[in-house]
Amino acid sequence: MSTATAARSTRVDKPRKAWRPWGLVAWICGLIFVAPVLWMVLTSLHSEPDAATNPPSLGAPLTFDGYAEFFSGTGGAGPWPPLINSFSASIGSTVLVLLLAIPAAYALSIKPVEKWTDVLFFFLSTKMMPVVAALLPIYLVAQYSGMLDNISFLTVLYTSMNLPIAVWLMRSFLAEVPKEILEAAAIDGAGLFTILRRVVAPVAMPGIAATALICFIFSWNELLFARVLTGVVAGTAPVYLTGFVTSQGLFLAKVCAAATVVSLPVLIAGFAAQDKLVQGLSLGAVK
């Protein structure tokens, strides 16, 4: 710890230089955390015998055999139907969530209903209920209404799963709309649609993007509902992956290829929109 004079004397060039070693520590930590992901991708590009050596053969020749094996779906159904199911459930539920959440958020921020905080907390509280407790009745409803193994049923469930998050997020963004501008626009005789388009939409757009990203990721990742409610027709990509839970001889490259392919949409979306990811994950508390 330095004395006051020492601190003053170093003020000019700031204590940035003293922090240099931390950069190295940060790089090491980053490499440790990313190593399993890199290992997954590298292993997926190795041949099965090279993937299963001990010690690991890092420099083994690269091949797409693992991917070919995965997409050909030898020993069962191929991965395309589950991937398409995942896309339709994730995108479908994200659209539905936005259609429901944006008006709701409007009624909780720009023109708030009475007791709007209670309503907001009601939405959050539904997120704290363990989904597993509702699993059985939902399963029974699906069974009696003939909706078992149906991707639209899953889409509706994912909508309910993400709606509270979306309402919170969108509300926090819409609350940013400057009140004075809203009032000024109204006084100038702007209609509701003009206000929505000219004043609200510019502020809401980043929020919509963050909400869509988060809803897509959570729906894409979901396993429990999909596992219980779907079968051969509507199974999603995570359900398809559970087929790899037990070892089946030399299959490491194929597993890693499968894990890489299924994670790819989330990795791309997440890396492309890192700041949106933070906003979404913190329910809009962090801007």
């Binding site: 710890m1 330095s2 004395t3 601190a7 003020r11 204590p15 940035r16 922090w19 931390w22 950069g23 940060a26 930590c29 980053g30 955390f33 990313v34 399993p36 997954m40 001990n54 010690p55 690991p56 429901l100 959440a101 709701a104 009624a107 921020s109 023109k111 708030p112 209903v113 009475e114 905080t117 309503v119 907390f121 539904t126 704290m128 363990p130 597993v132 407790a133 509702a134 699993l135 059985l136 009745p137 029974l140 409803v141 609350a175 009140k179 990742n221 219980v228 990509a237 995570p238 559970t242 839970v245 890693c256 894990a259 890489t260 994670s263 997440g270 890396f271 933070v278 913190s282 809009g284």
Partner: protein, 320 residues
């Protein structure tokens, strides 16, 4: 960047327009409510009604493998739930799993956020590397840990040990990671996934610090530790609470890692897995529902505390 849970300054809005009793006021209030209703009704129907059904089924004797023997069971299912050692163990497992994962991820996430808050070459690249684990689909991550890292014969962990052993000339230990320490194996994989989440939230918190105050403090001779203790940490507290709360909500419900890595064996079955098991494999609908109700009651108790935390954040910020 700022924590924004502040109520917008429109509190008096609805009251001014909607005077109770007057016809025009009532109409105006319904106009305000209209955009909210679809989302609200949808949420109530899809999330609240099933819980009511769970409550009813929990009092029934109902095993789908024995459909003729269905009837009212009173509290029998609850007695069975509380006297079932597997279910009691799963409660302990859930608490341990959630607490350890959330606390360790928070501590690691804080350390990493503090590192990333420094200026150094390639900061963006390091941030991207640190986020990667969170973006791997949970089932895929669990498979990756189970087969490619923990596998005792050709997993990366034992492979690296072996490589080090060969390099330095000693007989490397080759532990059976999953069967030797099943719960720890699950916890490590989850900490790996959740640390980036905590880091992102805490980093945003760090970067929203009022830097003029920090600079003023260091001009006045405050050391790095003092700045952290008296300025950074108090500012970060609400971000720590937010991360802890959201992390708990998600980790307490974890199913993917337990299902994939250990299939609930070796004392790693948490409540979600145990209930899934009772319902999916034992087909005991009554007992699964009773367990579900117990979980909900437990969650309500925890959620009340959690909501109070969020609510106080909400008020503090509103007062600022």
């Amino acid at each position: 960047m700022a924590i924004d849970t502040a109520p917008p300054p429109t509190r008096t809005g609805p009251r001014a327009q909607g005077r109770p009793g007057s016809g025009a006021g009532r109409a105006a209030r319904w106009v305000r409510r209209a955009p909210l209703l679809p989302a609200l009704i949808f949420t109530i129907v899809v999330t609240q009604l099933p819980f009511l059904a769970t409550l009813v089924i929990s009092t029934l004797r109902w095993n789908s493998l024995d459909p003729d023997n269905r009837g009212f069971a009173g509290v029998d299912n609850y007695v069975a739930v509380f006297s079932d050692p597997a279910l009691r163990d799963s409660v302990v497992t859930t608490v341990v799993l959630t607490a350890v994962v959330v606390i360790v991820s928070l501590v690691l996430g804080l350390g990493l956020a503090l590192l990333l808050d420094q200026k150094f070459r390639g900061r963006g690249a390091v941030r991207t590397m640190l986020i990667a684990p969170f973006l791997v689909v949970p089932v895929a991550a669990a498979l990756l840990w189970k087969h490619a890292l923990y596998n005792p014969d050709y997993g990366l962990l034992n492979g690296a040990l072996n490589w080090l052993g060969n390099l330095l000339g000693f007989q490397a230990p080759q532990p059976e990671w999953i069967s030797d320490m099943p719960l720890t194996a699950v916890i490590i994989s989850l900490v790996w996934q959740w640390t980036p989440f905590m880091m992102l939230i805490l980093l945003a918190g760090l970067q929203s610090r009022p830097m003029d105050v920090v600079e003023a403090a260091s001009i006045d001779g405050a050391g790095a530790f003092q700045v952290f203790r008296y300025l950074t940490f108090p500012h970060l507290r609400q971000y720590l609470e937010l991360g802890g709360l959201l992390g708990s909500i998600y980790v307490v419900q974890n199913f993917d890692a337990v299902f994939t890595i250990t299939s609930g064996g070796l004392g790693t079955a948490n409540l979600p897995y145990q209930i899934y098991q009772t319902f999916y494999q034992a087909h005991d609908y009554g007992q699964a529902s009773a367990a579900g109700v117990v979980v909900v009651v437990g969650s309500i108790i925890i959620a009340t505390f959690a909501l109070r935390t969020v609510s106080s954040l909400f008020k503090n910020e509103g007062a600022r």
